[in-house]
Structure formats: structure tokens, C-alpha cells
């Protein structure tokens, strides 16, 4: 029985196979309509989420399965003080697979120790969010054709952004990837992520200026710079506009740049860019559903001919 808690729980071959399945689902959705007939997904969301929960639920419905669960801790027995282990142990008797989001970091791992069915981590605090990374990888594959020889710019909050850390670790397993890290000093990528990325053998360029490097990028992954991450208001005000992507800043970018964002966006990408063909962030959210479908099939051991 297999669970996915961290993106690195999946080998490169498995990720490639998930991408192939997701692409096949996009091409031939009818083939998969009954793939999970009679199966149930428990969607255990101990904290609110829009995209992730709805995309997991849509994924299971599109596979012909059923969904049960809750969308906030208050409507579960966690509100009475039940442990994650007990909740999951019981739910695993009612469902075939569990997608779990929890504000406590490591909760899905604890769940996987007790569960009788596969657990998918749908986000644990600021720690891991592997299915977001799967969505990111499918987006890159479809937009760029592959993962090798890419220059990937990551912009904004690189310190606390869990999606950035997972994406770097996942991409660092491919050849000749170069990362350009664009952030204020306060929000730089932690050293341990750099060390873990292929044992420190990956090339990282660090800069504070998006304008200086935007012309070199194949992918620009934007994240939100959050006010609460700064120690003082003056620094926040000084820096916040540097990391807003505008049509002006895109003038020197490549024609085939792929602009990504895990969403929700607040103001870090100007709405004026939404119609630019290089804007991929809404497609990215759509691809997330297909990768979740592929992952559910893999973890349930279902293959569709």
C-alpha cells in the first residue's frame, strides 16, 4: 500500500508515467469515465482550500468514483479532539483512498502510518504539497516538451514557499537544469534546499532584480510576497512592487516564456498579463486535476487500456 507524502516519494519514472497518463486523460477523457466506478475518495480537509479540494473531488468524479469527507476541521471529530491517527484509521474503513490537507506539518505522514488505504498529502502547513508540484511538472512538460536544459526563474517568497522547494527538488533530478532565484534578502531560498538539490551540484544564480534576468528565462514561476513575512512595514513597502509582473517587465522576455503561479494570486501578476499567450497559471490549475486523476489511478492500482 503506497502513499504520496512528499514529491520525492515518486521516482522520475513514476512521474513520467503519471504525466503520460494525464496526457492520455486529456486526449481521451471518455476512456477514463468509469475507471474508478465503485471506488470512494475521502477528502479530509482540516483547513480550507479551494483549488486543491475541488480539483481532487472533480478528479474522482471524472473517474466515475464517489467522494465523501469534510472541508473544515470544525465539521469533523477533530473539533472534539480526535487524533489524526484515529480519524484516518476509521475513515480508511469507509474509503479506498484519502486526500488529506492539515495545518500541522507531518500530519499526512502520521496518517499514512495508520491508514489501511493510500494517503495523498494535499498540503501540510508550510511543509509539502506534492500534487501542486505534479501540476507544475505537467505544465512544464506540455509547454516546454520536457525538463532538460531549462533555465527556471523563481520569483518572490522563496523562503517560506513550499511549492518552490518541492519544484526545485523535483526538477533537480533532470539534466542541466539551471535555477535563477529572484527574491529580496529576507526571502531567499534556504541553504538546505540548495544542498538537497542533487547534493549541491545544481547551478543557482541569485539576484534581487527580475528585470536583470527575465530575458534569460524559459520558465518564470511567480509567488506571492506576503506582508506578514517581513519584520518591518518599511521593508515590505520598499520591496513589494519589485516582484509584481507587469507587461512592461515582460518586454525583454522570451517569446516562449512560460509564466507560472501556484495561485491564489493577489497582485503579483498584473491582470493585464492574463491574456498573454505566455501566461500559463490558469492552465496550471487545470492540469492539476489531470495529474490528481493519474495519481489516484496509480495509487489504486488501476490501469486503463
Amino acid at each position: 500500500m503506497r502513499s504520496v507524502i512528499d514529491i520525492l516519494d515518486l521516482s522520475v519514472d513514476e512521474i513520467n508515467s503519471l504525466i503520460d497518463t494525464a496526457n492520455d486523460i486529456i486526449e481521451n477523457p471518455a476512456k477514463y469515465q468509469k475507471a474508478c466506478e465503485g471506488k470512494k475518495l475521502a477528502s479530509l480537509f482540516f483547513e480550507p482550500s479551494t483549488r486543491t479540494r475541488l480539483s481532487f473531488e472533480a478528479a474522482m468524479y471524472e473517474l466515475g468514483g464517489h467522494v465523501l469527507g469534510f472541508s473544515e476541521a470544525q465539521s469533523s471529530s477533530a473539533a472534539k479532539g480526535e487524533s489524526v491517527s484515529d480519524t484516518v484509521k476509521v475513515v480508511s474503513y469507509y474509503a479506498d483512498i484519502i486526500a488529506m490537507r492539515h495545518p500541522k506539518e507531518g500530519a499526512p505522514m502520521v496518517a499514512s502510518f495508520k491508514s489501511e488505504v493510500p494517503i495523498i498529502n494535499a498540503g501540510d502547513g508550510g511543509h509539502n504539497h506534492p500534487t501542486q508540484t505534479l501540476a507544475d511538472l505537467l505544465t512544464i512538460k506540455r509547454e516546454k516538451g520536457g525538463f532538460d536544459n531549462l533555465t527556471v526563474g523563481l520569483c518572490g517568497d522563496l523562503k517560506f514557499g513550499r511549492t518552490v522547494h518541492s519544484l526545485i527538488l523535483a526538477l533537480s533530478r533532470y539534466s542541466n537544469i539551471k535555477f535563477v532565484l529572484i527574491s529580496p534578502d529576507e526571502l531567499r531560498l534556504p541553504d538546505y534546499v540548495k544542498q538537497e538539490a542533487k547534493n549541491g551540484k545544481i547551478e543557482f544564480l541569485e539576484t534581487k532584480s527580475l528585470e536583470d534576468v527575465i530575458s534569460t528565462l524559459d520558465i518564470l514561476y511567480m509567488t506571492r510576497v506576503q506582508r506578514e513575512r517581513f519584520f518591518n512595514e518599511a521593508d515590505y513597502i520598499r520591496l513589494k512592487d519589485s516582484y509584481i509582473l507587469t507587461p512592461e517587465k515582460l518586454k525583454t522576455a522570451k517569446e516562449n516564456l512560460c509564466i507560472m503561479h501556484p495561485l491564489p494570486r493577489v497582485n503579483e501578476i498584473s491582470v493585464a498579463i492574463d491574456d498573454d499567450p505566455r501566461a500559463c497559471y490558469f492552465k496550471q490549475a487545470m492540469y492539476g486535476k489531470y495529474m490528481r486523476m493519474a495519481l489516484i489511478l496509480m495509487l489504486l492500482g488501476i490501469s486503463v487500456k
Binding site: 487524533s83 489524526v84 491517527s85 492539515h102 495545518p103 500541522k104 506539518e105 507531518g106 500530519a107 505522514m109 502520521v110 501540510d124 502547513g125 508550510g126 511543509h127 538546505y192 544542498q195
Partner: protein, 138 residues
């Protein structure tokens, strides 16, 4: 100060002075029936002062976890009054319930009776991280 020599047992030597009691408690030596000597502040050429623990029995206890507490410790195994093994404990791959995760967002802060487990992620350092949330041990 005289402590009898051991026929069959374990001598934990080169313990940093003052740390002996911590190791005694960590190994749970109070629970055993055999003779145990904890000697504090023994003069040492190498260390100035050191602590030593002598255990008069070949107890089946995991001494490698001591590598986390103090990697400079020497473990001597005595059989028939002859030292048959001498080694420094290796850094354990995992340590359980020795240190606690300090991350307030970690599941260990709320989940009942969940063991605090840390895994070795970098031998140079060394760096241990919480199994659940990957926060670095302090």
C-alpha cells in the same frame, strides 16, 4: 578512588565531564540489577577532566544512540577481563524520543503519544531533522 575492574561488561569512557549522569539516565541504567559505577571528573590527559561509566554486565543496549549525545565517547567491551572491542559510537540514522521538535506547527505538538523521531540528513555537521516536518534539530 578505586573501582573494581570488570570481568564481563561495558566501559563508557571519554564522556565530557558533567555529562555522565545524562548518559546514565538516557541508557536507563537505573532499571538494571547489575553494578554500575558513574565516576565524575576523572583526570584525563586528553580532556583535562572526563566522566566514565562502568557497567558490570554485557547489557544488550543500543549504545550507538550515544553518538548523538557525544560522538567523542569511547565504548570498551570487556570479556573475561580482556578488552575485546573499542569504538566510538556511530551517528545513529534515527533517534527517538531524545530530543523534541521545536516547530510549533509540527504534528508532534498535538498528536497524542506520537514519538519524536529525528533522522540524520547530513553526517557533516551533523544535521538531524524531524521525521514529520523536517525542521532541523536545535
Amino acid at each position: 578512588m578505586n573501582i573494581d575492574s570488570i570481568t564481563n561488561g561495558i566501559v563508557i569512557d571519554h564522556i565530557k565531564a558533567g555529562k555522565g549522569m545524562e548518559i546514565y539516565k538516557f541508557l536507563g541504567l537505573d532499571a538494571y540489577e547489575c553494578s554500575v559505577a558513574l565516576i565524575k571528573n576523572v583526570p584525563s590527559k586528553k580532556m583535562g577532566k572526563k566522566d566514565i561509566i562502568k557497567i558490570d554486565s554485557l547489557l544488550d543496549i543500543d549504545l550507538n544512540a550515544l553518538g548523538y549525545i557525544d560522538p567523542n565517547i569511547t565504548i570498551n567491551v570487556i570479556k573475561n577481563e580482556v578488552r575485546t572491542e573499542k569504538y566510538h559510537p556511530e551517528l545513529p540514522e534515527r533517534i527517538t524520543n531524545i530530543i523534541k521538535c521545536k516547530n510549533p506547527r509540527c504534528i508532534t505538538t498535538t498528536e497524542q503519544e506520537l514519538p519524536h523521531i529525528f533522522k540524520l540528513t547530513d553526517k557533516n555537521g551533523p544535521v538531524y531533522r524531524c521525521l514529520y516536518c523536517e525542521t532541523k534539530a536545535q
